[in-house]
């Protein structure tokens, strides 16, 4: 017998899964890791279902947390690894995409949430666990870095 909320979790999955995988991919730039992160995020949502008022928001937070967790591990291993290959490498050379990949984790996440998810600063700040002013600073610096890179 399915619990009463199971259908709601299915609806959340159908509405959000693909979108969240794409967000996770844009942040961590590894399609396999993105799927893993999002699947684990759904497990988190399931575990917290009874105490969560806004499952979609909770899911997005869990996805960003998962990306951050993966990103921390990448920092530890960055010295011994080349840049992770992109699942979209077949798109060919893409200077701006490469430059976004070279942003630091917080800047890249802020850029994705602003320009792909179209979220306001306050919501981005909530997701990245920082203040809106920090979001604005991160995006400002990210845009400056991108502008500099693509004008070379």
């Amino acid at each position: 017998m399915s619990p009463p909320w199971a259908d709601e979790l299915v609806v959340l999955y159908q509405a959000q899964y693909d979108r969240m995988v794409r967000v996770a991919f844009l942040v961590c730039r590894d399609a396999a890791v993105a799927e893993e992160v999002v699947q684990e995020a759904f497990v988190s949502v399931h575990g917290a279902w009874d105490r969560v008022d806004a499952p979609a928001a909770y899911l997005r937070t869990a996805v960003l947390n998962g990306c951050r967790s993966w990103g921390r591990r990448q920092i530890l291993e960055r010295d011994r690894r080349p840049t992770s290959p992109s699942a979209t490498a077949d798109l060919g050379a893409d200077e701006l995409w490469d430059a976004i990949g070279r942003l630091n984790d917080r800047q890249r996440a802020a850029v994705v949430l602003r320009f792909y998810e179209d979220l306001p600063d306050e919501e981005i700040a909530h997701l990245l666990r920082c203040r809106p002013a920090t979001v604005r600073t991160s995006i400002h610096r990210a845009l400056a870095a991108l502008r500099k890179e693509i004008s070379r």
Binding site: G47, V52, T61, R81, A87, R129, R131
Partner: protein
């Protein structure tokens, strides 16, 4: 909207669009959930039939590669379940373990997951282990797992467990990121930069021992909670079930905190002095709102009038408490939950909304919402303020920066011209 904004939007959209998701992702999610609970979930689409075929194919590979001491398991055979788990105790892979981010405990140098498991098992169990059986590897994208069991003569189960692997595509190898015993529950494992701690229960009926480093082993009680002084180095928690030879192994690696959590040791070790019920790690078991109030009153000298938290919690293992501190001012305190015990918390940082310090590339830049007198200080710990690094005026339309080379707690205060007090406390790494 300028050209660069448009280019970024188009670039992100273009790359996101070509990402293809797993058509059986719902199946993978429900499998993960059901591993942790017995709740039935609705199936979406046709159930996959690929797994048994893959299992069969993989079984052949395992037999061929791992030699005589590994025997593939007949999944259809009746299996002795072995020692029964106590009520409300879960062994095997802990719910808190994240195989996506866990550091590897074993780098196999093998490009094939079956070969990686064979090599790991051979290395850890040795060839003298009695009746060790390893099931075929089950692969899911960049992740894989294999189960094992050790039997007495006659097939009676001694112990069983799971080995988790992750593909390292750059190194073209499969690495073991964790290994767990079904008859040993790991309630949690933490590394605070000084100490590693592991707590759990063993109901296997076999002797369990913990690798204490330097070739020393510590025998574990049936209920154990061990802390090891490991310094700032990564530490591999390794627990073996032994009975003349290795009967089971649990293994995971803990890295010291590098980024987040950012305030578990320096700040709270001192704050622990203020806490009657803080444990030896400086974590407190009070509800987050009480911790926040104590931080505001004891460490920052504020008067708290009210406290609110978001309904349903802020996020997994994360909580925000907003304190009313008089004159319409607020202090937002961010906290994280220690992994080992869900009811214990540490402070990440605190700030008056709109005011803060952004530290990057050796420069601390202040965001001031109003004009006033600004001071930035280092905090030796939560109880003691250190030297003044900057004393200046700040204004919303000006950038106030100061070179910041140190790490640790940074505290900034802005005494606004209208008398309002703004505070920021955070960590610089």
């Amino acid at each position: 909207m300028n050209d660069l904004d448009t280019q970024i939007r188009e670039t992100l959209a273009r790359h996101a669009e070509v990402v293809r998701t797993d058509p059986d992702a719902w199946g993978a999610i429900t499998e993960r959930i059901e591993r942790g609970s017995q709740i039935e979930l609705r199936t979406i689409g046709a159930p996959t039939r690929r797994v048994p075929l893959l299992l069969a194919a993989a079984a052949v590979l395992v037999v061929a590669m791992v030699g005589a001491f590994l025997v593939t398991r007949d999944d259809d055979a009746s299996i002795d379940l072995g020692p029964a788990a106590p009520d409300e105790v879960e062994g095997g892979v802990p719910a808190w373990f994240d195989r996506g981010s866990a550091a590897p405990v074993y780098q196999s140098k093998q490009a094939d997951p079956d070969a990686a498991v064979a090599r790991y098992v051979g290395d850890r169990f040795g060839e003298t282990s009695p009746a060790l059986t390893v099931a075929p590897v089950v692969r899911n994208g960049a992740f894989a797992s294999a189960t094992w069991r050790t039997n007495e003569e006659g097939g009676v189960l001694i112990a069983s467990g799971t080995i988790l692997l992750r593909e390292d595509r750059q190194e073209n190898e499969w690495e073991v990121v964790g290994s767990f015993i079904d008859q040993v529950a790991l309630d949690g494992a933490t590394h605070d930069g000084v100490r590693a701690r592991i707590a759990g229960r063993n109901w296997s009926g076999q002797t369990a021992r913990l690798d204490a480093g330097g070739g020393a082993w510590a025998e574990l009680a049936d209920e154990f909670d061990r802390t090891l002084e490991v310094g700032a180095e990564a530490w591999t928690i390794r627990i073996e079930l032994v009975g003349g030879t290795t009967l089971g192994i649990a293994e995971l690696r803990l890295d010291p905190p590098k980024g987040y959590p950012i305030w578990p040791v320096v700040g709270y070790e001192a704050l622990a002095d203020l806490q009657a019920d803080a444990d030896e790690r400086g974590l407190v078991s009070q509800p987050p709102v009480e911790v926040a109030i104590e931080l505001a009153t004891e460490a920052l000298g504020m008067t708290v009038e009210d406290a609110t938290t978001p309904a349903g919690g802020t996020a997994p293992d994360f909580e925000t408490v907003t304190l009313g501190v008089g004159d319409g001012q607020q202090l937002v305190v961010q906290m994280g939950r220690a992994a080992i015990e869900g009811s214990r918390w540490y402070v990440i940082g605190a700030a008056t909304p709109g005011f803060g310090v952004f530290v990057e590339d050796g420069v601390a830049t202040v965001t001031a919402p109003v004009s006033g007198a600004l001071g930035i200080q280092q905090r030796t710990d939560i109880a003691r303020l250190g030297s003044i690094v900057l004393s200046d005026r700040a204004a919303p339309d000006e950038t106030t920066s100061v070179a910041w080379s140190g790490t640790g707690i940074i505290q900034a205060e802005l005494l606004a011209d209208d008398g309002q007090r703004y505070v920021y406390v955070g960590i610089v790494r």
